[in-house]
Symmetry: C2
Subunit: 123 residues, 2 copies
DNA sequence: ACTCTAGATAGAGAGCTGTCAAGATAGATA
DNA sequence: TATCTATCTTGACAGCTCTCTATCTAGAGT
């Protein structure tokens, strides 16, 4: 049985979605920070390129080639994603590799779930 | 049996999450538009106030009272949410009532799901 | 028609964001 | 140490966003 179920931290926001009770100011500020990082087409494509890349990680050189943008601009967008906790970068030798932090995306996905969607998960 | 299951359009982006293949430029532009609308703490609180309000809808007067902001500013944020397709407003007499459009949030939730999360839903 | 209230629109100003060019830094190799 | 390459940082600028005040519109009640 190689299949391994993920251990998800569901305590904070997952399964108490946006839809069930009003957010506090702190909660909305934290969430808005992450959603804002996703609110740019270049960053969304970067994220999907990283996530879908072989091995779950991608080197900055691969990413830069996929856009008509300069290196510094890509670097800036990666920094925004990093500071939102969505991706994580690691230098190995000459290259820097980025990978997705799935827990943050799982949390967001849970926040947006309607109660109907959430039911089979919480059961 | 008053409970009515939502009919969800899963064809477009749900169950082919961000994580599985790179987004096209069009997909990322559309998605970024919606995420950008969620990327502001005031709008997130507005959304959760609307969604969690009794009857699933809230009058603008209720919403304005919950913030230290002027009416026009609230109106502006509601317009952003409306133009992203996240909420919908309807005038009934003197008041305007807003309600959430759950399909859009379900789509976003699906996009952010990791393959592990998506499995029980796609099965 | 007049007035009152709820909400939207228009316009302006301060601050933030996306982009680039130029320069800095880290590691590999000689 | 010198040099080369990959990536990041800095500084600058145009355009966008959030907020306000002032004005407008839609509907209710007189």
């Amino acid at each position: 049985m190689p299949k391994q179920l993920p251990v998800i931290e569901t305590s904070s926001l997952c399964c108490s979605p946006l839809m069930r009770q009003p957010l506090t100011e702190d909660q909305s500020a934290d969430l808005a920070h992450v959603f804002k990082a996703l609110g740019d087409p270049v960053r969304l494509r970067l994220l999907s390129l990283i996530a879908s890349h072989a091995g779950g990680e991608a080197c900055v050189c691969d990413l830069t080639d996929a856009f008509d943008l300069t290196g510094p601009t890509i670097s800036h967008h990666l920094k925004v994603l990093r500071e939102a906790g969505i991706v994580d970068g690691e230098r190995r030798g000459t290259w820097v590799y980025y990978r997705v932090q799935p827990a943050v995306l799982q949390k967001l996905s849970g926040v947006l779930m309607t109660p109907d969607q959430a039911e089979p998960v919480t059961a």
